[in-house]
Structure formats: C-alpha cells, structure tokens
Assembly symmetry: D2
Homo-oligomer: 103 residues x 4
C-alpha cells in the first residue's frame, strides 16, 4: 500500500481566460471520484491518494489525460510517494501519529 | 501571499528505532505552532503553509533546524510553492474552488 | 513523449551503515541501464528519464522494487513530469533552449 | 552546505505566445549567473544549486521575482533540498558516488 500526493496542472499557453487552474483540477478529480479502488482526499496543494501503487499509477495516467482532454497541450505533474512494506498505514494515520507526538 | 506545501524528513542513517518519521515531523510542527505569522494545516504528505513568502522561507529554515536538533544528520525537504500576485487566496479557497467546479 | 525527473530513496530505519543513499540509487539505476525504451541521464538530485509516459511509469515501478530488494522497507519517491502533446522535445533541447535565451 | 534542485515556472494565463517556458527560466538563470556565492548547474527539469542554504533561499527568492518581472502573475516553484551536516558534498560527488557503485 502506498500514499501518494499528486498535483497535475496545465503549463503556460493553455486556452484559458485567466490564471485559475481549478477547472482542470476538477476534471482530474472527476476521474478519481468515478472509481473505488483508490481512496482520495483533496488538499490545498495536492490530492492525496491511498491504495495499491499500480492502481494509483494507472489512475494518475487517466487524471492526466483528463487535463489534456480539457484543453491543455502541456501538463506538469508532481508526485510524492510514500511506499512502505512493513505495515499498512492509512492517510489519516499519518496525520494522527504526528498529532499524538505533539500532545 | 503564497501557499506552500512542505515535507521535511531525515534521510537514512538517523539514530532511529524504526521507519517512523512522525517524531521528526512533530518537532518541525512545534516550530510552526509557536508562531503566528504563517497559517498552517497538517496534511498526510505535506504541511501546508500560507502567508508572506519571506516569512514562510524563514519558518521552513527553523523547521529544518528542529529536525537536525532532534538527531538527524541529513535532512531531505520537498517544497511546492504557489505564489500569485493577482489576488489573495487562502488555502481553503483552493479546495473550495475545485469543489464548486465539481458540483 | 514525456520528460520525467525521478528521485527514489529509502526512508529512515534502513539496515544501513551511514547516511549514504548512493548504494540504493545505483540499484535503481541498474534497472534503467538494463533497458532501451527509456532514455536517461543521471543528475545530482534526480535521474532524468525521457520516453513514452506509460513505459516511464512501468520503469519507475521496477526502479522502486529494486530499492526494496536492496533492503529498504520504506521508500520515498519524488517525480516531476513534463508531458507535452504539441511536439517532441528531447531532454537536451530543454537545456539548449534556455541557454539560447541567455546568449 | 546544501544541494537544492529548483524549478520555477509561470502558471497558466501568462501573456505568452505558446507553451514555452524557456524565456522565463532564462530570466531566473540570469539572476543565478550574476552572483558567485551559490554554484549552479542547469539540468533538463531543474536547476541544481549548491552552497549555504540561507544564501540559496535568498537566491531562489530573487529568481522567483525575476519570473514575475518577466510578466508572470502567478508562479509555481518546486524545490528538493538535500541538507547534510556530516560532511561537505559537491553536486558532482553525488553523481560520481552513484557511478562508482555501478562499475
């Protein structure tokens, strides 16, 4: 099981009316919401995904295609992956274990 | 105003008992909680910061030192910065504007 | 065609003698050198890959497994992807086009 | 001493004629070339910087302003920092130590 933060956005020159990227992010997120295999959470700078890494990679490929389908001709993606084999950790556990250390 | 996702963690070889990094993340977060200038939010893969970019950079420097103070001899940090000059956007606005596009 | 910068390294707690990660990076790079579909270049902070995005994703999955096979129980990966559909750009072209603007 | 990979680019909606970002990257790189404190290397996906971390952060702030000065109203920056206190490592050493493991 892996937890992955992903950010996908069109690069300069898209047929866009301003500097908003939310329209493109929403198209990518529709792809995420249409499936069940990978859990997700929408955070300010990244969408956090949790599940089998192969399924997450396949999902990110489809998310990226959705941004191209929305009109982008060039897309920039940033991923940060936490893949561990010792035990299963849910995305909420990561936040909780830090908060417990703080109390 | 900028919104910044930051991840700070010790690299291999720390005097650690396992593969948990939450102890180090908590030390960095204590630095964040002890100040008022920069707003923050703890997400699964990143801590999200919002404020003046110079203040955010100064804060990240202190967060990193806290991880060294906790025993790390080598620290890896990943930042993603969204800096816009057209208008002020809070971190909650970024999530909300995507969610509005989805409805 | 896409150009991808990838960094794969074990997280804290690996059965390691120090803070060096080069042993693990080398194992991942052996996987890259054993194939022909994806071009690569070893840079200081990232390995740069160029090719079809599906083949690059499949390669990164195998690179990550090589780091686990080398003894890591938890692996952190960072990817930055530049995927464009308007024209084919080699990794050397990206450096060259910036250098031409500088002269 | 730290080694930092930095990527700075304008987000959608810039007054630009296409999807090229090399013009903006060149403006940021002019700032780097005009100083001596931080060593640099231009790689395909990132510019690699080596030096004192405070000086690198100050430089990145100036690089980012140069991209705004070139016409961007919103800028996205990605940083990956390797900060170690056990010994000084040059950016070339990181590549060399991996290559030595491969031979």
């Amino acid at each position: 099981m892996a937890i992955v933060a992903v950010s996908i956005s069109p690069t300069v020159g898209t047929p866009d009316e301003g500097v908003s990227v939310s329209r493109y992010v929403a198209r990518a997120l529709e792809v995420v919401r249409a499936q069940q295999a990978v859990r997700y959470r929408l955070d300010p700078m990244f969408t956090t995904l949790e599940g089998d890494l192969d399924e997450i990679f396949a999902l990110i490929r489809r998310m990226q295609e959705a941004v191209f389908d929305a009109g982008a001709v060039r897309v920039g993606t940033v991923l940060k992956i936490d893949d561990r084999r010792d035990r299963t950790v849910a995305m909420e556990d990561k936040v909780r274990s830090v908060e417990e250390q703080l109390e």
